[in-house]
Symmetry: C2
Subunit: 519 residues, 2 copies
């Protein structure tokens, strides 16, 4: 009987090859299209495969290669992180097989069908994410499923705990470790760089770790970096905090809640953000950073993340519930989020505002000073020796006396002063008022957008400097703000964006939106 | 004043390079880490970038490369499909910029927050998916968001129409173009290869295009390919159908509902499946294939896709609603899905079953014959000249008289007989009954799983051949089924899977589950 038959298959192995391709938080394996194993196993591009050697294994997404210069049919190529994760040498022999989806995906599918998940489910999901067993699409499925019908508050607590357990924890060995956090969305809101020196000057421990900007024109780390080194190893961080009671450092070196970083890398490009994920992300990072007392700033305004008071209140309850369950002393302060805080937007301009406030410069932005004093005052009241209601006055005294400035200079010196002198960008453009009237609106999102287009936060001198704030009277032709950029292409992008929509609304005095809260 | 400043940036371009990397339905761009543009723009790995040249542009996900052999700092590498999509020559100069998410993602975000979407939203989403503007994570977000709270029936209709409009349409220029489809999940259910020759022998037009198996052990195309060529170009397909009234071909060449193929490539690995997506996927493909009359088979059983009669009824209503709105005459038949149909599972074994039925061989599986006659009978009644209730008898007459076999042979000859003689795999293992009793359960999923492990559908002779069906009496040691494989490693995997769970339940006569429907 005529027949065509493939040769009997034996357990084949491939030669491990490290490919210098950075696929970020996703493992990718590269197999040649003529690789015997690829053909025999019926893999498809983008299949998940399991790569095994010496009892180790990793999961990776498969890309198929037609170019012998990248991988030959006898090779198994791995992206940078995947190679590191497998932990073998180049040339090691590995085998591959079809990967079953990570076991915890069954919980994600239950979430998609509307079920409530348990602590163990969240634990398993977060462990699998941390260990890079999820593809980006699987992470997206988890995020969307838990965002759409939103998690209930116990689920948020389970998720927070699972994320906290996914990484390292800092232990400052003190009973009161103060921290603050803002949920974001308000440009120029650089209060941490004022609150930390005030609180530390009082003697309270406040080792502040922050992120860099992901979608905003500046994070606290980007701005602090204008003045000092922010990338500190854990030992240096501890030494500084022990000596000076505070730091203003980048948190990325410490492997705190690593699952959070991975999820954010999928969540941000999708532009999705749910309350449950936000609370779990913030609180897991704060708990991992060893904070015992946390003041949470929720700005409310028509172009803020939270637009109505009732939303702010329900977010507040969720923060309080999860914080209480996980043993962090947490207070929420709802603030005025109708417009950017201070004048500058972008690292150099914001650092200037901060230093002016510390120096008691009469040109310093009053709103940044005022808000920072309120926040610092509330944190000072975490101290059992501070009488309720007295925090604000103590904070003001510390600031006015120059002790906050001294503390800031001490922190800068300890972290290492910035060797580069950053200035505002040399390309400037002023946006003028089109009419007489009163400023009745400044769009937080649009101002952030213009500053980003101008080059912030990558170009530290890029950004926007506001000359007028809500309620200010203007004449036609008065400058409303100035755009700063370092490079012509960015400059042109930002100017043309401001021409399409300046972000400012000019109207009548009585049209100014009222603050939901004391400002 | 000391300062460090980057040189003034000009609009830079990069040299286009085609990388032989198949990233399936996702565009990937490769930039060297030392590429000036990469550094200046502050891209991150996995950012979406927009690649522009000559007024053209594509969106791609960014991978960062550290190896000059893959791309140099002056190159812009593109994966195979992305390169083809941009449509330029290697060496062309291209520029890149940050990509905004595709505009229709705002509709996806509205869906995530629970809104109902409109026809235009679905149109925009599907156009963007078809044009590869969505990353895999964005597709996952759309699928999960529209699966979790499920689409309402108008939304399913909008989605179906949008998917239909995304690709080519076949036009057979006749008023009655018959088609059938099963929602899947039942191994061995190879009725199309019987229904098509019966219906075509009656003179009705039935140009059947099918898929290959994605997660099952055999699709109609995989099985038909044991007998004939199934990869036909559009012209050949039309010629055959005009002459012989039917075909049994692979539908992949025709670019019907291409958005469906892209979404399936994300959906299947995630293991998610919603009624709305299923209905839109099936009906958009059928409408694009030019079908005017469709019989839809929904099997119900404890291990079928649909497990309860009420679910089958609500799925039926959804199919009927969308079918009516989009102008296809659609009837639903709910069938017995308690166990596999026929004896064989896997291409060669299923083809054998089909040919035995056509040949009126007394050893042919009675259930496959019976089910195919019922389906063919219902399709024949689409013919206005066939009296209601007479279809079954006509179908039986066509089959018994050998006219169906003649028609099948004509179709095989027209498509081109298979030149390879495929046989059942040479490695075999019989699974024996552990006890005396009656077969009270055969798990569809487990049998499919064992057949897949044995090598089906890639190895056409691999699979499972059932000796006992529901209700059959067995003695301890009687063979229940035989596993066939072509390669030792697959064989061992399949045997060990069957040892962990044979898929068969043996019990008492009265424990046999009753069919929900006439069988």
């Amino acid at each position: 009987m005529a027949k065509t038959r493939k040769p009997t298959k034996t357990k084949e192995t491939l030669k491990l090859r490290r490919l210098g391709i950075d696929t970020y938080h996703e493992n990718v394996a590269y197999l040649h299209r003529d690789c015997e194993l690829y053909r025999a196993e019926g893999f498809q591009a983008l299949s998940k495969v399991k790569i095994c050697a010496d009892g180790q294994h990793i999961l990776a997404v498969l890309n198929v290669v037609d170019d012998d210069n990248i991988v030959t049919p006898a090779d198994m190529g791995l992206s940078e992180e995947a190679f590191a994760k497998l932990g073998l040498k180049e040339g090691a022999m590995v085998s591959i097989e079809h990967a079953e989806p990570p076991a915890s995906m069954s919980a994600v599918r239950r979430k998609i069908s509307g079920e409530r998940l348990k602590q163990q489910d969240f634990h398993n999901i977060i462990q699998d994410i941390t260990n890079k067993r999820y593809s980006k699409t699987e992470i997206a499925a988890f995020l969307v499923s838990s965002g759409q019908t939103d998690l209930d508050r116990e689920e948020v607590m389970y998720l927070t705990r699972a994320m906290l357990d996914s990484g390292e924890k800092l232990d400052w060995k003190e009973s009161l470790v103060a921290d603050k956090h803002c949920i974001g969305g308000i440009p120029g809101n650089r209060t941490s760089m004022l609150v930390v020196p005030i609180v530390a000057a009082h003697g309270m421990l406040m080792p502040k770790t922050s992120s860099r900007a992901i979608t905003s024109p500046a994070g606290t780390s980007d701005t602090m970096e204008v003045l000092a080194n922010v990338e500190l190893d854990i030992k240096t961080l501890h030494d500084i905090v022990r000596k000076d009671r505070a730091c203003l450092a980048w948190g990325g070196t410490a492997q705190l809640s690593p699952a959070d970083d991975i999820m954010i890398s999928v969540e941000r490009p999708l532009g999705i953000d749910s309350n449950g994920q936000m609370v779990a992300s913030i609180l897991s990072k704060k708990l991992a950073a060893g904070s015992t007392h946390l003041l949470l700033d929720i700005p409310v305004g028509p172009t803020a993340k939270v637009r109505h008071m009732h939303e702010a209140q329900s977010l507040r309850k969720l923060f309080e519930y999860v914080g209480d369950q996980l043993g962090i002393h947490l207070e929420v302060i709802i603030t005025d989020g109708r417009q950017p805080v201070g004048f500058g937007i972008g690292p150099v301009l914001e650092a200037r505002d901060v230093m002016q406030v510390l120096q008691n410069n009469p040109e310093a932005p009053a709103d940044l000073r005022q808000k920072s004093l309120r926040l610092a005052g509330r944190i000072l009241e975490f101290d059992p020796d501070v009488r309720g209601g007295q925090g604000y006055a103590i904070a003001r005294d510390i600031l006015d006396s120059g002790r906050a400035l001294d503390k800031m200079n001490t922190i800068i010196k300890a972290q290492g002063p910035q060797s580069i002198k950053y200035d505002p960008g040399q390309l400037t453009h002023e946006v003028l008022s089109p009419t007489d009237g009163v400023v009745i609106g400044i769009d937080n999102l649009q101002m952030a957008h213009i500053a980003r287009f101008a080059g912030a936060p990558m170009d530290k001198g890029a950004g926007v400097d506001l000359f007028k704030k809500l309620g200010d009277s203007v004449k036609k032709g008065d400058p409303l703000y100035r755009i700063y950029a370092e490079f012509p292409s960015d400059f042109n992008f930002a100017v043309s964006l401001s021409e399409r929509n300046s972000g400012y609304s000019i109207g009548e005095e009585d049209q100014t939106p009222k603050a939901f809260v004391e400002s």
